[in-house]
């Protein structure tokens, strides 16, 4: 009797997973198309379409970095998030700073293990809930921001908005450099010398991310292999 119930549960779960994949694929593709179409719709509204040549140039620079990062995130996080959770997490974003910790927190609270049907359900519930909360908080915040727009657009505040990127990179440098001091020091030193001696490269910083990233990954790989050898894993 118990065995019969387990078989029925397993069949129902397989059916659920199959539909989750079908629905997940269709809806993810729909969101992707909407996100890619939106800039063209905005272009029509503004009377100027995207410059595809400039876009291609930027893709060669920073876009490649995100291709690699996207693949790595996909390989690492899908096992943690399950099928339904993965579709939702890749649609709604903010993986590292919210979705992954939230799903792990939920899993710990109810004590389920990765790869089990329970984990699949719990992760999907957790990510769907956290995404809805983000959407609601942002919608409320944006509604409150509308009356503040004249202040946000004042010339006095422009130096702040013109330095969003240095502000971001300063915070990230502190975060990433702390645990990788030598790699950071070498890469920053080499790149600084390059920009000082060839200042024309300053205007193409996004392209210089490629050699900078390659140098950092190369140094990280050497460090990774050395650590494995020291632990005896590399033999």
């Amino acid at each position: 009797m118990e065995e019969k119930k387990n078989t029925a549960n397993q069949a129902a779960y397989e059916q659920y997973l199959k539909k989750t994949h079908t629905l997940g694929r269709i809806l993810t593709a729909a969101v992707l198309l909407l996100l890619l179409a939106a800039p063209f719709a905005i272009g029509l509204f503004l009377g100027a379409m995207p410059n595809l040549g400039a876009a291609a140039k930027a893709v060669l620079g920073v876009g490649l970095v995100y291709l690699v990062s996207g693949i790595v995130e996909y390989l690492i996080y899908v096992p943690m998030l399950g099928a339904g959770g993965s579709y939702l997490a890749f649609i709604t974003g903010n993986l590292i700073n919210m979705k992954v910790p939230c799903a792990i927190n939920a899993r710990d609270i109810v004590g389920v293990k990765s790869g089990t049907p329970e984990n699949e359900i719990i992760a999907t519930l957790s990510i769907a809930t956290s995404s809805l909360v983000t959407i609601l908080v942002l919608a409320a915040g944006v509604a409150l921001m509308i009356p503040l727009q004249p202040i946000l657009q004042s010339p006095a505040l422009q130096p702040a908005f013109e330095n969003v990127v240095p502000a971001l990179f300063g915070a990230m440098a502190c975060k990433y450099y702390r645990s990788n001091r030598w790699i950071a020091l070498i890469v920053l030193g080499v790149m600084s010398l390059l920009f000082v001696f060839v200042p024309s490269l300053i205007g193409s910083t996004s392209m210089m991310v490629i050699p900078s990233g390659a140098l950092a990954i190369g140094l990280a790989y050497l460090s990774f292999r050395r650590q494995h050898r020291e632990r005896g894993d590399g033999k």
């Binding site: 890619l36 100027a48 790595v72 908080v137 971001l168 990179f169 915070a171 900078s212 950092a216």
Partner: protein
């Protein structure tokens, strides 16, 4: 200013809000299906309710941090577009970096309203959508196969420094991702150093120091956040550290800008 009012126009709010609403409906559909499947599988309803409550409370603080990101980007990209990008798919550090690279490629120098044109904005918006779509593309084309492979009996795994089990590839995957971000951050910070020393001619030391100063203030603020988190064991501070450091540094930029 005329462009910024267009970027904050009702059309953009409706367009971006419509997509966000669609994504909210998807979340509800997935949540309802998972809840029903959980009940059918015999998972205790009270446990599922606990997960919903815990996830909702967990998400509030990071969501406020993400809202600060919308505020940070709203001065250069208007409000609706950052609202869409940070509600769906994006994350503050991804969006800002891609927007900066796109701005550079379209020839406006950097992410700033002063040089922004309609064409530049449309291009930046396209780049922001395109560069960060790989997770979605992979999950569409490979998600089913990868999930099934993971459900198959597991092979021996190694244990990482943090105690989590990792495969060999994923073990270096974490390091590679961190290294890539170090490379990315270093390229930009090095360009600020190069700008000061040789920006107006080789070794003339007359370039703008404001971007480097803002980056240093932000790094210092981040360091304080990290130390406070460690001292008080306040994990929740993580949700605010990047956006908080950025806002502190951006506020300093208003005062430092008068000196530069």
């Amino acid at each position: 200013m005329e462009l910024l009012s267009k970027l904050n126009s009702p059309f953009l709010y409706v367009l971006c809000g419509g997509i966000i609403l669609f994504v909210a409906v998807i979340c509800i559909v997935f949540a309802v299906r998972a809840y029903q499947a959980g009940k059918a599988l015999g998972i205790d309803v009270s446990r599922m309710k606990r997960v919903i409550t815990a996830s909702a409370t967990f998400a509030v603080l990071p969501s406020v941090g993400i809202l600060l990101g919308v505020i940070a980007l709203s001065g250069s990209l208007g409000t609706p577009w950052p609202w869409l990008r940070l509600s769906v798919i994006g994350a503050l550090h991804y969006e800002t970096q891609v927007a900066e690279a796109a701005a550079e490629s379209v020839g406006i120098g950097g992410l700033s309203l002063s040089g922004m044109t309609s064409e530049a904005f449309a291009t930046i918006a396209l780049l922001m959508s395109f560069c960060i779509m790989w997770g979605m593309v992979l999950v569409i084309f490979n998600g089913k196969a990868y999930s099934r492979r993971l459900s198959a009996p597991k092979q021996t795994q190694k244990t990482g420094k943090d105690g989590k089990k990792k495969t060999g590839l994923a073990g270096f995957g974490d390091d590679a991702m961190t290294a890539m971000f170090i490379g990315l951050v270093s390229a930009y910070i090095a360009s600020y150093i190069g700008q000061i020393i040789s920006g107006n001619g080789l070794f003339k030391f007359s370039g703008s120091w404001l971007p480097l100063a803002v980056a240093l203030v932000s790094a210092l603020a981040m360091y304080v956040f990290i130390k406070l988190k460690e001292k008080w064991n306040a994990e929740w501070l993580d949700s605010f550290s990047v956006a908080g450091s950025m806002l502190i540094a951006m506020t300093c930029a208003i005062f430092l800008g008068k000196l530069a």
